[in-house]
Structures are given as structure tokens and as C-alpha cells.
């Protein structure tokens, strides 16, 4: 997706502890980077995780993650985590994510793409509960491209 299709961009620098013997970020760590991006998304829409959800008696639980690896990130790379909400269902939300690295020649390298789908659940029972209206509204206000209802 073009960069302007994402609503949020967050920069982070790859740590030594995240790079493996091949000199590239271990494949699982991208989900940590996605999670950092999603943290910033909640903050950006005005509902920092987990307080606003907790106040509404609910929490998020991951139900699916996908990562497609296009090019490796390396130690000390400054990379952008791009985030948007792609789809909001009755009790689920799909985040779409992409990571990019700016190059010296002003081009960008597309590192990974992926998604994380969460279910909104009752914080105690951990059973699915409808996405609260305040969240739907905050996301609708924030997104450049309206999430698909699904």
C-alpha cells in the first residue's frame, strides 16, 4: 500500500538484541514492532492502551497475526512502523501494518507487511464483546480511509 494509506507512522531503531547470527532481525521480533506501532495507534486516537478499554470493562486479545517478509532490517536501522485499521467487525479489529526503511538515496525499502487481528473481550470473562461505540468513532475520526465493516 502507498504510505499515505496509513494513518500513523512510528519510528524505532533496531536493537542489537533483536538481530540474529544472520545479521538480520529475527522473524518473530516484527510482531513486537507491530505491537509498538499499535500502542502508538491507541495513543493517537485518544485512548491509550489499556486504560480506556479497561474503563469500559474490556481488553484486546490477539486472534491472528501475519507477517510477510520482503527485505531484512539490520542492526541500528531506523525503521518506520506504519499502522491503520483495515476492518472493524462486531467484536474484532484488524490492524494493517507495514515497515519501511528510508535509504540514503531518499528511496524507501519495504521491509515487511502484515496484520494483527484482535478480538475485543470482556476483561474478566475474556469472551468477545462488541467493539465499544467510542472506539469505532475515534477510529473513524482518525483514519484517512474508512475501515471496512466486516
Amino acid at each position: 500500500m502507498p504510505r499515505e494509506d496509513f494513518s500513523l507512522s512510528y519510528s524505532l531503531r533496531v536493537r542489537w538484541a533483536e538481530v540474529d547470527h544472520q545479521g538480520i532481525v529475527f522473524n518473530g521480533h516484527y510482531l513486537t514492532f507491530f505491537d509498538v506501532g499499535i500502542t502508538e495507534y491507541w495513543r493517537a486516537i485518544g485512548y491509550p492502551y489499556p486504560d480506556a478499554l479497561a474503563a469500559a470493562g474490556c481488553d484486546t486479545f490477539a486472534v491472528k497475526s501475519t507477517v510477510e517478509y520482503h527485505a531484512p532490517a539490520r542492526y541500528d536501522d531506523v525503521v518506520d512502523v506504519l499502522v491503520r485499521v483495515g476492518r472493524i467487525g462486531r467484536s474484532s479489529m484488524q490492524f494493517l501494518l507495514e515497515m519501511r526503511r528510508a535509504e540514503a538515496d531518499a528511496s524507501e525499502t519495504h521491509l515487511v507487511s502484515g496484520e494483527v487481528i484482535y478480538v475485543i473481550a470482556d476483561a474478566q470473562a475474556r469472551r468477545p464483546t462488541p467493539v465499544p461505540a467510542f472506539l469505532r468513532e475515534a477510529i473513524a475520526r482518525f483514519e484517512r480511509i474508512a475501515p471496512v465493516a466486516g
Copy 2:
């Protein structure tokens, strides 16, 4: 998939450092568990990573990971990582994975399912290269269910 559809089962115990404030394993760590299972798969077919591949001048690079979360693993849980090869393409291999926890009543809880797809690549150039014949043969010998050619 039924347990007998997997060719390898490896047990591990969930560490304190892998569990988050919700008291459940952080979603990204399952890819580390998958990786541990895949390490054992290479060993089980007689080609421990990365030496046999390196001797053939090649290495593996992840191109896609998927995790579906069914039930959370918790601190100190002993869990099984189940592994099989689902598909072998010209230069790619798909691992299918599942994690389960044995319960006190002898039932099993299905925790997560997923896949990790690797491309076999030239170790230096990091460009795709055909899956070496010795690997195809070792996998064919090891698998209960023949991998799909893809």
C-alpha cells in the same frame, strides 16, 4: 489437524519473561516457539540447522509467518510444539505448526496454529535457490504425510 498429522512434537515450558501483564504469553513469542520447533525438525531429519545447509552453500530466510491464537499459554505451562512440512516448492518450504497443552483431565487444549514459509537462498547472495535434493529426500523419508509440491 489431528496430532498424528504432525511428524514432530517438542515440549517446552513457558518462561516468566514470556508472559505479559495479562498473564498470558505475548503474541509475538509464539514465533520463537515455532522457531524452536523448526530447529528440532531440522535435527530430526538428520540435517541440524544451519550446518548441512551451509555446507550446500545455502541458508533459509523467512518469507511469511502466520499465527492463529485459539487459547493462551500461561507461565510454567508445559506445551507441545507440533511440526510438519506442508508444502515444498521450487525454492520454498512451508512448515505447519500447532501448539497444545495437556490438561489434568487428559484432554488437550489447542493453543495456536500457524505456518512459517522459508525460501532457500544462496548463503552469500541471499537469492532464492532450488531446495537441495538431499533435503527433499530427507523430508520425504521423515514425513508421515507427503508434503504437497507447490
Copy 3:
């Protein structure tokens, strides 16, 4: 310290994700290994963490960690984490730890030594509280070398 000075030995295998670009375990991960060893220590004395402590209204909080690095552990190494309690104070406990790798010639390589000191604290207020008598007794029964009172 000689191996027989430790009361517990726990084996684990180094994961790919724990090894850095130098091909050796990242220095911080040894504290995760120490933590795994300490988990096994609590289990071995009959009080698996955190339930027995929680039942007594208390928990443990790390106050100091030290790691001395003698030789690096590498990917796929099977290593032993050795644990004993070195000192028990009024509200603190010092674990002494060592990690070793068995070599093909039956010698052992001493990888790291260290300590982790915990304070026993009230679980709610997180203020130091005396080490419960049941713990002191369980440790005294388990240890080959009586912990120093301190």
C-alpha cells in the same frame, strides 16, 4: 564453585532468537536463563512460584543481578543452569548461579557465573516482609550447603 556445591541443575538449549550477530548469546539473555533456573528451584523445594508465596500474601522482587561472562554460549548449545541459595537475610534471598556446557571430551566449559538477589515483599504494598518460615525450612532441607544468614 565445584558443581557439587549447587543444589539444582537444569538443562536448556540455546535458541536461535537468543544469539546475536557475533554468533553468541546476547549478554542480557543470561538473566532469562537464570530466571528459568530459579523457577525450577522453587519447584524443586516444593513451592512452585508464585502460588505458595501468593498464598502467604507475598511475592519476590529482584533487587540486584550480576553476571560474569567467562565463555560464550552459542546457538543450539545444551547448557546447564546450576542454582543454589547463597544467603538468606531477614527479607532477602541471594541465588547463586552458574552456567556450564558439557564438551565432547567430557570436560565442562564454565560459561557464566552470577547472582540474583530478591526481596520478599508483601504482594499488594510491595514492601519488604520477612522471609516466611516455610520457605526458610524448605530451603534448609533442600540445600547441600547451608545458606549463610545475612
Copy 4:
């Protein structure tokens, strides 16, 4: 130590994956934070790790780490990692580190203190080698308080 005794301060935000079931950062992760601070230190003195060292045929290997835990960092905390070099020996360097959190009332909470001692080693043989003169000089220029020769 007072904040002005440190030569470098680097801010980072605590990630969800770094916080454990107690709601606080797992004790081992502070060494990852220290490592991030040390990365920035090398950059700040003009010799980003590992290139300048590699060009001189050497690398750094941790020989000792210490962390003293004073107060816990929590999810989403913005924390400062403070770094200075405390001592330079013939072939070793001691980094002193501290982490702090700014509070709403403009006070600071002292989270942890520690040290990481590295040996400078030949990159191939991994045997200690004298600290290169260019490093000694860069550190001397950068530090507010002259490192102790040790």
C-alpha cells in the same frame, strides 16, 4: 550519581512485551536497555558500533554486568538511560548506567543503576587487545568526568 555526572541520556518507551505478569519490566530486560544506551554512546563519541572497532580489527565482549533495581518501570513509561564511561583499563572499559523516569510533579524516580564491563578483543581470535588510542581519545573528549584509568 547526580544526572550531570552522566555524559549521555537516551529516552525510550517501555514496550508491552517487556512487562511481565507483575506489571513491571522483567529484570533481564534492563540489560537490553543498557545495551541500547551503550549503542548511543558509541554513536555520540563518533564511532558507531561496530564499524569503527571492526575497522581496527577489534570488537567488544561483555565480561560483567550488574543491575541494581530501585523502582520498577512499567508499560508505556518513558524512561531515560544515562550512560558514562567509569573506568578504562588496558583492554577493558566499564560503562556506568542509570535509568530514571520523570514524574508528573517534575521529580525523577531512580529506577535502576548498573554497570557493563567490556573487554576489547581481537575480532577473529576473540582475545583481549589494548583499547585503541582513537577510542581513549574520543571518550576523553566526550566525558564530563575523566574516566578512571584501571
